[in-house]
């Protein structure tokens, strides 16, 4: 399977996500607040949790100082439903605590109303 329509653009509002399938793979389509679509494997790289049961939220950032939280990237961070590890949707699904690790991702393009995932 090289490419496939996984959903319509109207099915996911900015800041929301949904699961779908790409061939035999379970995939997760995330739509960030800027309206962009991103597709990942719908399985956490830690212990395999279904990521669609997690949450898209923001994150406390590196520029926080002890006792003083800076919170941003609202809607761009995917948190796993189990151990809560955070993955940066806009940065190839990299884990915030260990950016060497990332959730496998797929390419996405939008044609008319169709969200198309491809390799």
């Amino acid at each position: 399977m090289k490419e496939q329509v996984v959903c319509k653009t109207s099915e996911i509002q900015p800041g929301e996500m949904m699961k779908s399938t790409f061939g035999k793979q379970n995939v997760l389509i995330c739509r960030t607040p800027d309206g962009d679509f991103h597709a990942f494997m719908n399985q956490c790289i830690h212990q395999g949790a279904p990521l669609d049961k997690g949450m898209m939220c923001g994150a406390t950032t590196e520029s926080s100082e002890p006792g003083d939280y800076q919170y941003c990237h609202q809607g761009e961070i995917l948190r796993c439903p189990w151990h809560g590890r955070e993955f940066d949707i806009k940065n190839e699904g990299r884990m915030l605590a260990n950016p060497d690790k990332k959730i496998p991702s797929f390419k996405v393009r939008v044609e008319d109303e169709d969200v198309i995932v491809y390799k």
Binding site: Q47, M55, C57, R79, P81, W82, H83
Partner: protein
Amino acid sequence: MPKHQIPIIDTDIHERVQYEDILDRLEEPFRHYIANCHWIQEKHMPYTQPSVAGVDRADAKLPDGRPAGSDLPFMQEQLLDDIGHEAGILTSALDPSPSSMHGWHEMAAALATAYNDWQIETWLDKDERIYGSVHIAAQERDAAVKEIERVGPHPKMVQVLLPIDDIMWGDPYYHPIFEAAEKHNLMIGMHHNEPPVYYGKWPRYFIEWHTLIPTAHMKQITNLMFNGVFEKFPNLGLIMIEAGFTFIPHLMWKMDQQYRDLRHEVPWLKRKPSDIMREQVRFTTQPAEELTKKEFMSLIEQMGSDEMLCFSTDYPHWDFDAPDRALPNMDPELKQKIFADNAKNFYPKLPNPKEG
């Protein structure tokens, strides 16, 4: 087809109760105080950071909105059937444990009784794979002993649960509880309550508290050890639930070394502490640190026994360990022990075909 090749014994599953579930089993006047006078337990954790759904796995919340762990059919589907459990031991979330409640010990004892009845009817009698823990209000010692006498003989009750909080259970005052447990072939399961690690207070951050939970477990093992509980009750076993296992060698070495210097203070101890631990103390695996196979095998070697670890998931909590992912690969014999046989050999009331 279950996911896991070895049918596992899961030594830590948290079923969840809400007061309304047990009200009809609660005696008066205690029912009245909950139903009409807004009584609730007073200890609550000041954090919600751990995960996306408080302290639970976000996907374990029930579709009808009830909290994770409230419903047997849902647990069967998501855990027992899916993974392929041979047996699972309930460790509850009557939060906090009755033994951990400050004040009004009669209420704590009544809640423990209602909880035990609810647990038996709603879980133990409904799924043959599920085994239970006797809840007591241990600070109300004599009532606790009575409760063990009352529900301890139930064929599926396998242990008495004590919280790890601010009471050290090895004190001779509590020994009648151990005596009653031993009499009924029940082990002692200890699970931390809150807040056991920071000198009785909460630290500023959850991550501090959660990192140091093993220290609270070490305190209780040390306390039971040197108060002579294991020597006085040689058929009693203690299982430490949910602190992991990487601290075990340290504690064994430390207690042995101290014993060589200070034996005269605790002359009732006849065996080396590390030998007592190998014989009578067990540990659930979760939350397992991410170890390589080499690191894991080296730890087992340092423990001097591959029979001390019993696999647990901690379902449905946020730091759940998946059986096929949490521990490193190991040879089938060791896997069989950690995922099933060690627990079967530890709990006298779990079916154990090997013993005939």
